[in-house]
C-alpha cells in the first residue's frame, strides 16, 4: 500500500513515516503544497495524509486537484484548526476524514485502516484470539474453555479490542467509540481505567500470560505474548 504524507513540519512527517513503515506501508513524503501537488498529479496513492496549513499551495488546493482528476483516493486531513467551519470546509472539499493535531498515531492508524477497508463488511459473530473466544450473539466469553462473566460495558470493551487485535487503542478512541463522548475535555479517563482494570482482572487473572497490555502514555493493546 502506498501512502503519501503532505506535511511541512519535517519532524512530524518523519515520525509519521516511521510509524507507517512499521505497519508495512510504503510512504512518500512532500514538505510543501507544490511538492504534494506535483506528486498527486504524477502518481497513484492508496491513501493521502494531508496537512491543511502548508506554505505555498495549501492543503485544500491539493485536495481539489486530486478530486478534479476524479481519483477516489481516500484523504485524511491533518490540521491544528478544529472549528466547525474548518471541518466542514475540509470535508466539503472532498476529504474522507479529519484529525486535529495533536493526535495519537494509533488513532491515525485506526482511521486509515477504516478507510482502506471501507466497503468490506467485517462483523463476524464470533471473535477469537489465542484461547479467548467471544460469541457476539449469545454474548458469552470463554478463555481456555472457562466461562468469563462480563458486565455489558466490559463486553463492549472486549469486543472493541478483539476487533482491533494487535493494534493500539487509545483512551480517546474508547471514549468516542465505546462511551460515545467525543469531547476530549470530558474527564472519562478514570472511568475507562477502572473498566480496563476490571476487565483485565477477569480475562487475565489466573491464566498463564496476560492478553491486555498497557502502553504508558498511549493506551492499551490486546495481543499475544511476543516471541
Amino acid at each position: 500500500m502506498r501512502i503519501l504524507i503532505v506535511e511541512d513540519e519535517k519532524k512530524l512527517a518523519q515520525a509519521l513515516k516511521e510509524s507507517l513503515e512499521r505497519e508495512q506501508f510504503s510512504v512518500d513524503m512532500a514538505h510543501t503544497g507544490e511538492e504534494g501537488f506535483f506528486l498527486v498529479n504524477e502518481h497513484r496513492f492508496d491513501l493521502v495524509i494531508l496537512d491543511i496549513m502548508l506554505p505555498g499551495r495549501d492543503g485544500i488546493e491539493v485536495l481539489a486537484t486530486l478530486r478534479k482528476r476524479d481519483l477516489r483516493t481516500p484523504v485524511i486531513i491533518l490540521t491544528a484548526k478544529d472549528t466547525i467551519e474548518d471541518r466542514v470546509l475540509g470535508l466539503d472539499s472532498g476529504a474522507d476524514d479529519y484529525l486535529v493535531k495533536p493526535f495519537a498515531v494509533p488513532e491515525l492508524l485506526a482511521r486509515m485502516r477504516a478507510l482502506l477497508r471501507r466497503g468490506r463488511i467485517e462483523s463476524s459473530a464470533s471473535l477469537k484470539m489465542s484461547g479467548l473466544e467471544m460469541d457476539v450473539v449469545t454474548r458469552s466469553v470463554l478463555r481456555e474453555g472457562k466461562l468469563i462473566e462480563l458486565t455489558a460495558k466490559e463486553f463492549e470493551l472486549l469486543e472493541y479490542f478483539l476487533r482491533r487485535q494487535g493494534t493500539v487503542v487509545t483512551r480517546e478512541m474508547l471514549s468516542r467509540d465505546v462511551w460515545k463522548v467525543s469531547v476530549r475535555a470530558v474527564p472519562l479517563d478514570n472511568v475507562i481505567d477502572v473498566h480496563m482494570t476490571r476487565l483485565r482482572k477477569k480475562i487475565d487473572q489466573g491464566f498463564a500470560y496476560p492478553l491486555v497490555h498497557t502502553i504508558r502514555g498511549v493506551g492499551f493493546i490486546l495481543r499475544e505474548p511476543g516471541p
Binding site: 478544529d82 472549528t83 466547525i84 467551519e85 495533536p102 462511551w179 463522548v181 467525543s182 469531547v183 476530549r184 475535555a185 470530558v186 474527564p187 472519562l188 478514570n190 472511568v191 477502572v194 473498566h195 476490571r198 502502553i215 504508558r216 502514555g217 498511549v218
Partner: protein, 453 residues
C-alpha cells in the same frame, strides 16, 4: 456654531442668557404698561376735576365762566351750543385746539394741534335752560408722553448691559457647575489607565454628582474585577501549561544523560512524556472550548430531552468511579421532567459535576443525583454529596477557570481545573444556570436549573 455645540459650558451660558433676557422683557413690559396706566389715570383725574369746575360754573350762569377763567387762567376750556362756541377760555383759543374731537364713551380723547403739541381732552354734555351745552376741557399731555418715552428708552438701553451681565454670570455659573465633572473626568482617566484600585472621591452631599461618581465607581469595581480575573487566568493558564512542558523537558534531558543500556528506563521516560502531552492536549481542548464559548459558534442540537434519562445515563457511566471509592451513588427521580436542550453538552456538564463530586467526596461517602421540579416552570438537577463542603469564599469562584480551593490537594487529584468552568459554560449554553449550595451538616449541592417544558 461648532464651539457652541462642542462645549456644554457655552450652551449653558447661552441658555442662561436667553432666559434672563426673556425674564427681563417680561419685567420691562409690565413696568412700562403699569407706568403708562398710572400716568393716564392721573391725567384723567386732573381733567375730570377741572371739568367739574367748568360744568358747575356753566350750569350756574355764563357769567361764572368769566370769573372762573379769572381765577384759574390755566384751565383750557370751551362751551359749545351745537356747533357754536358760547365761551372759550383764552388758554383754549391760544392752544389752537380743534373744536371737534372724537372721544370715547367716557368722554376722554386726545388731540394734536398744528403747533405740534399734544393734549388730553374730556367732554361732557349738560342741559342748561333747555339748551344742550357741550363742555370741553383740555390739558397739555406732552409731559406724560415724554415721561413714557424716557422710561422706554431707559428700559431698552439697559438691555445690552443686562445681556452682557447674564452672559458673564452664566459663563461663570456653568463653569462652577461643570468643574466637578471636569475633575471627575480627569480622575477617571487616571484610574482607568494606571491605578485600577483607586476610586472617585464621594462627597457628603447626596447630589447628582455624587450619584454620577457612584455609578462610575461601580463600573470601575466591575472593571477591576474582570481585570483581576483576567490577570489571574493568564497567570494560572501559563502555570498550568508550563508545568507539563517543564516535566517533559526535564524528563528528556535526564534521559539523554542516562547510560544507553537501560531500555526499560527509556520506556518509562517516554511513557511519562506522553502522559504529560496528553495532559497538555486535554488542557488546550478545554481552553478552546471555553474561548469558543465566548464567540458562540457551536452548533447545537436542541431537542426535547428527558432529564431523568440523560442524568441516569451519566450516573450509570460514572458509577464505577464511585464504586472504586466505595461511595454510594444514588439516583432519585421526583418527577419525569423534560427540557429542550443539547444532549451532548448537557451530559458533558453533568459528567463534570458528578466526577467532581466523586473526586472530592471521601472514601465511603454518599452522592445523590436528583431530578426534581424547581420553583416556577423550572427543573432542577442536583448533585448532592456529603463530602467536606466548600467554604463560602470559594463557592462563587469555583466555577472560574483554573480556580482551585486547595492548591496542594488539587495537584494530587490531577484535574485540569477547567471541569466546573466547562460545566457552567455547557449549562449556560442550554439556557440554564448552575450554582453551588452548602449543606448544613457538611457537603454541598451543585444545582443545575433549566427551563422546563
Amino acid at each position: 456654531m461648532r464651539v457652541l455645540s462642542a462645549s456644554v459650558r457655552w450652551r449653558m451660558t447661552l441658555w442662561y442668557s436667553v432666559s434672563i433676557a426673556a425674564i427681563y422683557f417680561l419685567f420691562a413690559g409690565c413696568v412700562f404698561l403699569s407706568f403708562r396706566y398710572s400716568c393716564i389715570a392721573e391725567s384723567r383725574m386732573r381733567l375730570s376735576n377741572e371739568l367739574m369746575l367748568v360744568t358747575s360754573a356753566t350750569s350756574h350762569s355764563l357769567g361764572r365762566l368769566t370769573a372762573l377763567e379769572a381765577d384759574y387762567s390755566a384751565i383750557r376750556f370751551h362751551v359749545l351750543a351745537g356747533q357754536q362756541t358760547i365761551y372759550a377760555s383764552h388758554a383754549w383759543t391760544s392752544a389752537e385746539l380743534p373744536s371737534d374731537v372724537s372721544v370715547d364713551a367716557a368722554g376722554y380723547g386726545y388731540a394734536a394741534t398744528p403747533t405740534g403739541r399734544h393734549y388730553a381732552i374730556v367732554q361732557a354734555r349738560l342741559q342748561v335752560d333747555g339748551r344742550t351745552l357741550q363742555v370741553g376741557v383740555a390739558q397739555d399731555d406732552l409731559q406724560t408722553l415724554e415721561n413714557l418715552h424716557r422710561l422706554l428708552w431707559v428700559l431698552l438701553l439697559s438691555l445690552p448691559g443686562i445681556l452682557v451681565a447674564s452672559l458673564l454670570g452664566g459663563y461663570f455659573l456653568a463653569g462652577r457647575i461643570l468643574s466637578p465633572i471636569d475633575a471627575m473626568a480627569r480622575k477617571a482617566q487616571d484610574i482607568g489607565a494606571d491605578h485600577p484600585s483607586q476610586r472617585l472621591p464621594l462627597s457628603e452631599r447626596e447630589d447628582e454628582f455624587n450619584r454620577l461618581a457612584r455609578v462610575f465607581n461601580d463600573t470601575f469595581d466591575r472593571m477591576e474585577d474582570s481585570f483581576n480575573r483576567m490577570k489571574r487566568f493568564t497567570a494560572d493558564a501559563s502555570h498550568e501549561l508550563r508545568t507539563p512542558l517543564a516535566i517533559i523537558r526535564s524528563l528528556g534531558e535526564n534521559a539523554l544523560q542516562r547510560p544507553r543500556e537501560s531500555i526499560s528506563c527509556h520506556e518509562e521516560t517516554l511513557g511519562s512524556i506522553l502522559e504529560e502531552v496528553e495532559r497538555l492536549t486535554r488542557l488546550l481542548d478545554g481552553l478552546l472550548i471555553l474561548t469558543r464559548a465566548d464567540s458562540q459558534t457551536l452548533p447545537l442540537q436542541i431537542e426535547e430531552t428527558s432529564l431523568s434519562e440523560v442524568s441516569q445515563e451519566v450516573v450509570h457511566c460514572l458509577r464505577v468511579l464511585a464504586e472504586e471509592k466505595t461511595q454510594s451513588l444514588l439516583f432519585q427521580e421526583q418527577a419525569d421532567l423534560k427540557s429542550r436542550l443539547d444532549k451532548s453538552t448537557f451530559k458533558q456538564a453533568l459528567i463534570n459535576l458528578l466526577a467532581n463530586a466523586i473526586q472530592y467526596t471521601q472514601v465511603g461517602g454518599g452522592i445523590t443525583v436528583r431530578v426534581r421540579p424547581g420553583p416556577g416552570k423550572k427543573a432542577w438537577v442536583e448533585v448532592d454529596d456529603n463530602g467536606p463542603g466548600i467554604a463560602p469564599e470559594h463557592r462563587l469562584k469555583i466555577f472560574e477557570r483554573f480556580y482551585r480551593v486547595d492548591k496542594d490537594r488539587s495537584k494530587a487529584t490531577g484535574g485540569s481545573g477547567l471541569g466546573l468552568a466547562i460545566a457552567r459554560w455547557a449549562i449556560e449554553l442550554n439556557g440554564g444556570t448552575v450554582e453551588c449550595e452548602a449543606k448544613q451538616n457538611g457537603g454541598s449541592i451543585f444545582r443545575i436549573e433549566l427551563p422546563c417544558l
